[in-house]
Amino acid sequence: MSTSSSAPASSTPARDGLGKVALIAIAVGVLAFAVLPLLVPTYQVSILTEILIFAVLAMAVDILAGYTGRTPLCHGAIFGVATYVVVYWSQQGGAPVTGLLLGVAAATLVGAIFGLLAIRTSGVYFLLLTLALGMIVWGVCLRWTSVTGGENGLRGSVRPEMLAGHMPFYYAVFAVVGLITFIMWRFVRSPFGLTLRGIRDSESRMRALGYNVSLHLFLAFTISGFFAGLAGALYAMFNDFVSPSTVALSQSVEGLLMAITGGIGTLFGAFIGAAAIIGLENFVSQYTERWPTVLGLMFILIMIFAPQGVIGRVRDLVRRR
């Protein structure tokens, strides 16, 4: 289903081949996530849950980095805003569903505000501006102790009784993430999604064709913030706890690195990236405390040796055949 053929009647053979490979890969991926939890120890089921949640964050990053050509470094913060709101709401005794809605709404709003400020920049300026905006959120969460609990963070009980166990929760997340992924896939293939790829390739041509580029960028940023918020809300249910590290820069870097590792502009690559980064994080932390250092090294190595990511690599190989 992820052929990128554009004219339905007459796509070239290379693209049909790619379509088949992609379909099989997606089927294998879905099957793996459906069956794996039954085969691994409980501790690892929660790792799988985390992978699914962070894949949504990475896809949200990919909407901007891959499809729109604007690489953001604030999505961890947007994600974390949702987490904070959801956990705070449950700590205050509010209904979980309302909390989830409020959390996603708050993240979308933060995304919209960041979007307004950032869309006039591009390239490294965009990267730095979004980084600074994310740091503001982190600063607020750290200092506004009366609400956020400062460094100690907040503990809530977001997860309903029914989903208390690892397994039921995993499969609930599996279903929700499946639905979100489908919606995001429709989104990137929609006329609006094509508009974003046009902006990535040439803003001046888009303007000359009648597109209000700033408006489209603003909408893209807001929508991307909405999806990051969905991931953050799920994470609140998963973790029942939030602290400034959830909105820290490292979270934004991780989200971006997942998107890049899987393959920028491929959407589904997010799952591969999330699995690789979270898997590595769990592995590395058995031996050392220096995960941020390892993360930084990973970032550099990937940018040098595989900037097109896993799916990008595979796609190149298939094309070349």
Binding site: S6, S190, L209, G210, Y211, L219
Partner: protein
């Protein structure tokens, strides 16, 4: 007011450089106009001022009876301006069909559809087919643009500007960098355009341009030098001095 485009005393200044210096031009509806002039004469900058890519430092741009001097680029496109670029400006990672789809959707509200399918309506399909046909790209729909030859990319430049069905079509050296045989294709495409479409064409190739247009404006150092019909341009001594000599070297 039968003029579709009326430039009143347009100046564009870059720091100390007056790239366009007090240019006044009237283009009546349905006319085919050429703008010629040596390298650096300010032709592209004048296009940029007409379309809004740069703001005129002073002067007014009147289009279709409206003052558009302060209007952003996309709004000018929405009221019927369409242009091609001297330096090929396409969507290189997308296919020809996707490039055309973006060109078609620029003025349609469907560009905001967030979850809809990408397929074209029958009417849009017909328009895309026609523009691709005129530009001789109908067999290249599914090719990714960066994999096409330079000549084909120039043809796509034209197709994308055409498919929007503009009132005013601005072509910035559509044949720049093409081989003689490819130039013939481009001039055929231009000749086949609807006769009622108002056209402004920048071109260095005298033989090409003089056979295509009704009227010629020659710029030099940002200033208007001569305005005359093609037959008089050939023999005009001012034009020969500043332009024809250099153009021979250029071609």
């Amino acid at each position: 007011m039968t003029d579709l485009l009326h430039l009143e005393g347009i100046c564009v200044q870059f720091g100390g450089l007056k790239a366009v210096d007090d240019v006044t031009i009237r283009v009546p509806r349905g006319e085919r106009r050429a703008i010629i002039g040596p390298n650096g004469a300010g032709k592209t900058t004048l296009f940029n001022a007409i379309t809004g890519m740069v703001r005129a430092t002073s002067g007014r741009v009147m289009f279709d009876g409206r003052d558009v001097t302060r209007m952003p680029v996309h709004a000018r496109a929405a009221i019927g301006m369409s242009r091609t670029f001297q330096i090929t400006n396409l969507f290189p990672n997308l296919t020809v069909a996707e490039n055309m789809r973006l060109a078609l959707r620029g003025l349609s509200p469907r560009k905001f559809s967030l979850l809809g399918g990408g397929s074209l309506t029958a009417e849009e399909h017909a328009r895309a087919d026609k523009a691709l046909g005129v530009s001789r790209l109908h067999a290249r729909r599914d090719v990714v643009v960066k994999e096409m030859s330079y000549g084909e990319q120039r043809q796509l430049e034209l197709a994308m500007a055409l498919v929007a069905q503009p009132k005013l079509l601005l072509l910035d050296e559509p044949a720049a960098g093409l081989s003689p045989s490819e130039r013939v294709i481009v001039s055929d495409i231009i000749r086949a355009l609807p006769r009622d479409l108002t056209l402004v064409l920048i071109e260095h190739d005298m033989d090409l341009v003089l056979s295509l247009v009704d009227y010629v404006t020659c710029l030099n150092n940002g200033k208007m030098l001569v305005e005359a019909p093609p037959a008089e341009i050939r023999t005009n001594t001012l034009v020969q001095d500043v332009y024809l000599g250099k153009a021979r070297h250029h071609a």
